[in-house]
């Protein structure tokens, strides 16, 4: 499995391993994409979700599952997931662009409006993007969630930004 060889999955491989939001749900706006594929004992995504959209249940090694209609894309689970394995993707952001929200625990924090280079799961540059939101409330406990606007075609690829480019 490439995940265990090089540390990351492609979106297709991810889809083969676990559920991702349906196209219909993506079309409605921001939704959590959970990229947690190993059964490890962990459930903060479940307990942190204000909409009770994520279920881990008993035993806590279950993979989290998402009730996609209940998810509001608020980003709480993105900040809470100790594995930093949850993203918020909004494919309905505009006609041509989507946004991807991801946890970002590096300095310097990018500023809203900054032009950035968006990278994929392997850290490779994919496209240019613009930072549209940096959320860093106390409840996120020092895990800011950065949201970048990128061309819609790359919404399933982009999962971060190059560091130090902002």
């Amino acid at each position: 499995m490439p995940l265990l060889k090089c540390g990351y999955l492609t979106y297709e491989e991810l889809r083969a391993l676990r559920a991702v939001p349906s196209d219909a749900r993506y079309a409605k706006g921001p939704v959590a994409v959970i990229e947690c594929v190993q059964e490890i004992p962990c459930n903060p995504c479940e307990t942190s979700c204000p909409s009770r959209a994520i279920c881990v249940g008993d035993p806590i090694v279950n993979l989290p599952c998402l009730a996609e209609e209940q998810c509001t894309g608020c980003g709480m689970c993105v900040a809470k997931c100790p594995g930093m394995a949850i993203f918020v993707v909004d494919k309905a952001y505009s006609d041509t662009t989507a946004t991807v929200g991801f946890p970002y625990e590096y300095f310097p924090l990018p500023e809203e409006g900054a032009a950035v280079t968006a990278v994929d799961r392997a850290g490779q540059p994919v496209c240019g993007g613009t930072v549209v939101r940096v959320m860093n409330p106390k409840a996120f406990d020092h895990t800011p969630v950065v949201t970048v606007e990128i061309p819609k075609a790359f919404a399933d690829e982009v999962r971060g930004i190059e560091r130090g480019t902002c």
Binding site: G7, V37, I40, P44, P59, C81
Partner: protein
């Protein structure tokens, strides 16, 4: 000779939780740690913990450490810091170099009715040409430098080992502003949690599985300046011609940990060799060793992670307090059963199963050695 009801060796997650439980039940507890600051690995763990809400998951280790210190103080746990237990002697005597200010110390002997050893573990090294070169260090040491001492170990780091320690420390080195030039793993696949690997892959760190460090080349000052890695075949033999040179000034080795058990060997506790954990002391479901009144918890019993250390510490603390009469047998049993159930949940899944089996093996080996419930 000083008298204490319970002496806990080590104020890391296991030792502190043992001390908190025992003191909470009413016992007079002295907890001894060789560092100037208690908390063990917790204060290096700036990341959010896995686990369930019972384990304060989603909370950073450093914050869990702070909560535990407050709790230990509330419960009246006596803490000796900068103090080293240099030996345990027959008759439950604890020999301590009692630190005064971190430099001078005085030797004192403490008689303890019960002893709990939560001494943690030490880092394994890997032998390659140049492993004693300045700039080569344990991954845990690099983590202490950035997260406790706020000093960067170097500018550009090669990490050897893809267990959770190697993965997490790579991430934290980048957070501190170091560059991670490569992560090298001898096995054909990544050892730690995929989510930790994904985090550093996303940051652009190349991951070389089936590779090891062949040689470290020093500069004129004698410090690491280049690292030569080499590919390995299925039998872990070097593949000629696959050498690759990486510019780096630091090598961090995350090659696993070895339980710290010297004190238990001094007391002639029964040991076993387990393929998962190596040489470890036997213990029962009270976390008591073959020596009556001597308990163990955490990495000393076999290396796991902070949550299991916290839980085992609780069991040891409850058992010791119950043996002193501070808890009724029924109450102690009910609480221990609850904790064993939580431990079983933590030891599920692809990463936990091996450890659950190892724990069961050790518990049965203890029973067999007692001539009690021999394997049927």
């Amino acid at each position: 000779m000083l008298e204490r009801e319970i002496v806990v060796v080590g104020a890391g997650p296991a030792g502190l939780s043992a001390a908190i439980e025992a003191a909470g039940a009413g016992a007079r507890v002295l907890c001894i740690d060789l560092n100037m600051r208690p908390g063990g690995q917790l204060f290096k763990q700036i990341h959010k913990f896995f686990g369930s809400s019972a384990h304060r998951s989603g909370t950073r280790g450093i914050d869990i450490g702070r909560m535990m210190l407050d709790e230990a103080e509330d419960k009246g746990v006596e803490l000796w810091l900068g103090s080293t237990v240099i030996g345990l002697f027959p008759g439950n005597k604890v020999g301590v170099r009692h630190g005064q200010d971190g430099t001078a110390g005085a030797f004192v002997t403490v008689h303890a009715q019960k002893i709990i050893v939560a001494a943690g573990a030490s880092e394994n090294v890997v032998r390659f040409d140049g492993w004693t070169t300045p700039g080569v260090m344990g991954a845990g040491a690099a983590q202490t430098m950035v997260n406790v001492n706020h000093v960067k170990p170097g500018r550009r780091v090669v990490m050897l080992g893809s267990g959770n320690v190697g993965l997490i420390v790579s991430y934290q080195l980048m957070q501190a502003g170091c560059e991670v030039a490569a992560l090298v793993e001898a096995a054909p696949k990544i050892g730690g949690y995929a989510v930790h690997a994904a985090k550093i892959a996303r940051a652009g760190v190349p991951i070389y599985t089936s590779h090891t460090i062949k040689r470290v080349v020093p500069d004129e000052s004698g410090r690491v300046c280049r690292v030569v890695i080499v590919g390995l075949d299925d039998a872990f033999q070097e593949i000629p011609g696959t050498e690759r040179e990486i510019e780096a000034d630091t090598v961090a080795i995350g090659a696993g940990l070895k339980p710290t058990t010297e004190l238990l060997a001094l007391l002639k506790c029964d040991f076993t060799f387990h393929p998962v954990w190596g040489r470890v002391p036997l213990h029962n479901r009270d976390m008591e060793t073959s020596q009556e009144g001597v308990y163990i918890a955490g990495d000393t019993t076999g290396v796991e992670e902070a949550n299991t250390a916290l839980e085992e510490g609780r069991i040891a603390g409850i058992s010791a307090a119950a043996a002193l009469g501070y808890l009724s047998e029924d109450e102690a049993k009910a609480r221990k059963d609850e904790i064993w159930a939580r431990l079983a949940a933590l030891r599920m899944g692809p990463f936990g199963e091996k450890r659950e089996q190892a724990k069961q093996d050790i518990l049965s080996a203890f029973d067999e050695s007692r001539g009690g419930l021999a394997a049927v």
